[in-house]
């Protein structure tokens, strides 16, 4: 279909080019500036050609051990959340797809969508005193529980739709051959579901790695994640506790893994129109 698509006119090309630049140029400016010497960053006139340096990165990791800790925490919380999201949504999605009529399980899925609609801030207000009371404040486990709960509806929706597309007969054949229910799922359904599982992992990563609000409210020291440290660093520029160079380097380090990741998986994102709605 794409081969015979109409050629874009000059104006249409210019429009697309303008918005491409608007989207990518600000990101490039900051990433490139992270390799600039302070004198080049502070130059009154923006400097395009400069002598590249890794000085900002060595400064960042020397002066901001908190940022390194934040990266480690972000990584741990991201992996934990993916595991918990999948562990809870896979069986649920299977039940929603294969046995919705039993005991009204299918109808109960409506509540998943209802919960997704709650503004995160509205959830953090009561969560903060509750987590403090039961000792889950400033803990990675607490964050993982919250992130997983936030991501369930999207995960279940994606996985349920995929299981719908897998013929029931395949599982039934495995059962007849003597597999138990779990074996049939693991050997037949699971491999066919892998693309969906990868998609869920992608959306969870984008959400958890980048979240600012929940980490801001629910962590204070031990479990602070990279975005919160970055926001701190940005605020410290005015007080002279950090420099633009360090902040650029930190922003680049925090952004780069997910940006590369998005470039690689963009095709997948672009093919999930309906589910894309639940992201964010």
């Amino acid at each position: 279909m794409n081969d015979q698509a109409e050629r874009a006119t000059k104006w249409q090309l210019a429009t697309v080019a303008f918005f491409v630049l608007l989207a990518i140029f600000p990101i490039i400016v900051v990433a490139v500036s992270s390799f600039k010497l302070p004198r080049d960053i502070f130059s009154y006139k923006p400097i395009v050609f400069f002598e590249p340096t890794f000085g900002n990165y060595t400064d960042l990791f020397r002066n901001w051990p908190k940022f390194t800790e934040g990266l480690v925490n972000s990584l741990a919380v991201t992996i934990g959340s993916i595991a918990l999201v999948l562990a809870a949504s896979l069986p649920a999605a299977w039940a929603f797809s294969r046995m919705p009529q039993h005991g009204g399980v299918g109808k109960s899925a409506m509540s998943l969508f209802a919960m997704k609609m709650l503004p995160p801030l509205v959830i953090t207000v009561p969560l903060f005193p509750i987590f403090s009371a039961i000792g889950l404040d400033d803990s990675k486990i607490g964050l993982i529980l919250v992130y997983a709960a936030m991501e369930f509806s999207l995960a279940v929706l994606l996985l349920k739709t995929m299981i719908d597309g897998i013929p029931r007969e395949l599982e039934e054949a495995a059962l007849i051959d003597g597999c138990t229910g779990i074996q049939a799922f693991r050997r037949v359904t699971f491999p066919l579901l892998l693309p969906g599982i990868v998609t869920v992992a992608i959306f969870t990563t984008l959400f958890v790695w980048n979240d600012y609000l929940f980490a801001l409210v629910l962590t204070t020291a031990r479990s602070v994640t990279a975005p919160v440290v970055l926001a701190d660093m940005l605020a410290s520029i005015g007080e002279g506790r950090s420099t633009w160079g360090e902040v650029f380097a930190a922003a680049t380090v925090q952004l780069l893994p997910v940006l590369i990741f998005t470039f690689i998986v963009q095709r997948k994102m672009m093919s999930n129109g309906a589910a894309g709605g639940l992201k964010g």
Binding site: A88, P126, Y212
Partner: protein
């Protein structure tokens, strides 16, 4: 298939972990919040029942209504631009464009960014002293403008940044829909001598409208709760010029530690969102869970 109690038990056992976690992390805290909203609870103090006083005070406070109005302006600017530009780009990108894959990847790049990085980027670009934007406005003879620290511009500027960060989301929702339209219907349109505008008005628009509406509703819901970028960039300031509802709520809850009052604002926000979002949710549920949609 015969409905049996054991099957029902089996089905519920499979969804139980999911619901247990949702109940503990989302539902229960919301009920606690509702209870708190009728108390004067604050950190390090026992909650005391004060009835509907928090709601009376919130609904009677000028700062709440001012924040609500700012939220309306913020959401209005951001969502109108996101929807219009997102739809335009979705329609343009299906044409033959050199390096289309790369163009799409660049366009949706802002989706990969945390609020902290978005805020960092724009804090620098718009910085009064070192920001390149002010270098350009200065060259153009407009002088340097304190974009984020001037009461007149702060709210509009954060809304535009929200547009920058949110537009890719609209594109991701609309482009696959537009790309799936069969080309044949457009060929028929060309034969009849339809202008591009007529083709959009009578062919594209009726087909893309359902997806467009969902995209707009989603963006309204998400933009309504926007917090991170605004909080990092302006803290709601200068004074309260960019204090939208989410920032207002955060300040009362986590800066002044008035949890009872914060809970009342949280519940008001929840009810407000519920009005817009229940429509979208019912629709999404029907699309993905209704028996006929399974085909």
């Amino acid at each position: 298939m015969i409905k049996s109690p054991s099957k029902a038990l089996h089905a519920w056992a499979l969804v139980a972990p999911l619901y247990a976690l949702l109940a503990a992390i989302v539902a229960l805290p919301e009920i606690v919040a509702l209870a708190l909203s009728f108390t004067d609870y604050s950190i390090g103090r026992d909650p005391r029942w004060i009835g509907e006083l928090n709601y009376v005070r919130t609904l009677g406070s000028a700062s709440f209504w001012a924040a609500a109005l700012r939220t309306l302006i913020f959401v209005g600017i951001a969502v109108v631009l996101e929807a219009a530009i997102g739809l335009l780009l979705a329609c343009l990108l299906i044409r033959r464009i050199p390096m289309r894959g790369l163009a799409i990847a660049c366009l949706i790049a802002p989706i990969a960014m945390s609020h902290a990085v978005t805020a960092t980027i724009w804090a620098y670009l718009l910085d009064f002293n070192v920001g390149p934007v002010n270098y350009v406005t200065n060259l153009m003879g407009l002088g340097r403008i304190p974009w984020l620290t001037e009461a007149g511009t702060a709210l509009i500027v954060v809304a535009l940044i929200e547009f920058w960060a949110g537009m890719p989301h609209v594109l991701v929702m609309l482009y696959p829909v537009r790309a799936a339209f069969p080309r044949e219907i457009y060929e028929a349109g060309e034969i009849d001598g339809a202008t591009p505008f007529q083709r959009f008005r009578y062919l594209t628009w009726p087909m893309i409208r359902p997806a467009f509406l969902i995209a707009v509703v989603f963006r309204i819901i998400i933009t309504f709760r926007a917090f991170g970028v605004v909080w990092i960039l302006t803290k709601g300031g200068p004074v309260d010029a960019s204090e939208i509802l989410s920032v207002h709520l955060y300040k009362i809850g986590f800066v002044y530690w008035e949890f009872g009052r914060a809970a009342s604002i949280a519940w008001l926000m929840l009810l407000l969102t519920a009005v817009v979002s229940s429509w979208a949710m019912v629709r999404l549920y029907r699309e993905s869970f209704a028996p006929k949609a399974a085909a």
